[in-house]
């Protein structure tokens, strides 16, 4: 391989500049370098393919390259805010008591991190009753005994339309999108 001009990059180190005592022995075989370079280009190519939108061509290539990225943990999905929701939402857990429903503060539920909110939102969107019931029962058991509502818990997700930016101003209202119940034995 010809020697490159490293003059454009101050981080590059020229062979000529290396004093003899600091020079590193470099008997790298050219074949090794070509092989490593090819592997790196294949790696970049696979990442590129994996980033493209799903299509028949990508679907055909997927079985070939997927073991590499899946097993190494290099799966790519950069779709954050790709399709912003056109509605606002609120997710609430309420306790059922004889007196009615009473919201439980987020801190008592352990909803103190964005990741936990993400988990709860994803659970609501999956709309799996068994899964949500398991979660609510777990939440119930984490509450201090004195503040456990006697009848159980309800997880509710309300949504409200965000008005279009160019449309006429409209009043939007909250409506319940999902509601999950977890009854305690005493209430059944």
């Amino acid at each position: 391989m010809p020697q490159h001009d490293h003059g454009h990059d101050p981080q590059a180190v020229t062979a000529a500049a290396a004093p003899a005592e600091t020079a590193i022995r470099l008997p790298h075989h050219r074949l090794v370098r070509v092989l490593l370079g090819s592997l790196l280009l294949i790696h970049f190519g696979i990442l590129f393919l994996n980033n493209l939108a799903w299509s028949p061509a990508i679907a055909a290539a997927w079985p070939v390259y997927s073991p590499y990225i899946v097993r190494l943990g290099l799966v790519q999905d950069w779709g954050m805010y790709r399709d912003p929701a056109r509605f606002d939402q609120r997710i609430i857990v309420e306790g059922f008591t004889e007196a009615g429903r009473k919201p439980i503060p987020r801190e008592d539920l352990g909803w103190t991190s964005s990741r936990m909110l993400y988990f709860v939102e994803a659970m609501c969107l999956r709309n799996n009753i068994l899964e949500t019931s398991t979660y609510l029962n777990w939440v119930y058991d984490q509450l201090p005994e004195t503040s456990r509502p006697e009848w159980g818990l309800v997880l509710r997700r309300d949504v409200k339309q965000i008005p279009q930016p160019t449309g006429p101003p409209v009043e939007t209202v909250w409506r319940t999108e999902n509601e999950f119940f977890a009854w305690r034995k005493a209430a059944r």
Partner: protein, 353 residues
Amino acid sequence: MTLPASARRLSAAVQGIDGFLFQPRSRTPLRFMRIAFGLFLVGYFTGLHPLAMMLYGTDGLVSRGGEFPLSRIVRPQLFHLLSDHSDRVVWLVTGGGIASGLWLASGFFSRLAPCVVWLFVSSVVTVIPGNSGDLLVMSFATYLAVAGLAGHLVVGGKTPRNHLPATADGGGPGATLETATETPGLPEVPAAGKACRGLPAVLSIAGGQAVPAWSIRLFQVQLVLVYFFSGYHKLANDAWYRGTALHYIAGQTFWSRYDLSHLDDWPVITSALTTAVLLFELVAFPVLVWVRPWRIPILLAGVVFHVAIYVTMRVFTFHQIMMLYYLAFLLPEDWQAIAGLCEPLRKLLARHR
């Protein structure tokens, strides 16, 4: 005999790729990335612990509901290898993740440490619910493991042999970074030039030798792909194409740290910001970060971009890990310039000592 034009072009292309991947580069960015990622993992695993306990603890969701639908991956992970319903395993994974992060930051056994880190990161990423940021953490751990196995993270004066590319004359371009800065032919970075003078050697070059560029290129190319494809996929959506995306994002109070819905009264601003985000992701960053005069301005713009989102939106992990990827684009002179900026503070502290 002269080569035909097509052969010369091909030769130039091969030479360009070879230079891009194997040009000797400072190992300083890798050093800082190793330390920063190790410390980042301390916070990362600490933050994951409550969720891990909720899912995989002795009385967690998995043990209550059988196989919870989020726990299947084909990568090696400790919850499946050991137990997915044990407090001890949760403590092992999160505690081990924190310890491995500190180990990585310390620089001891720098070939083994990133592999151990990879195992712990692999045990939590996508096993515990997360976002794109977690995928970036996984990729970071993978690239660092590869760099570690190649000996590019070795600390101190021990540069592994045979790690720099051979040159045409058969000689080795290996040299210390000190040599790099002393090389008369190398251009000086204006911002760094004055700032570096008088700094201790440990700050300026930090005992590093050169390594082939490919390990740092893994991080750089990954970062560029993240931006480009974020923009590419956004463009397929009507809200981004028509400039209304940020109007809707600002209206999502559930994911906002502050109420941003008043921005919805200013469609001109949200529309301009939407287009700016698209242009930054699709064109500005992926192209200009490779252009020398634009590198620092575009990185600074990226920092402002991510800090602004972090301050206003409840997005976790993504922005922090993106900042770590940015380190791959910093040169030793940039670190020296940063140290130079801190010099007045250091003097002030020294005066009061």
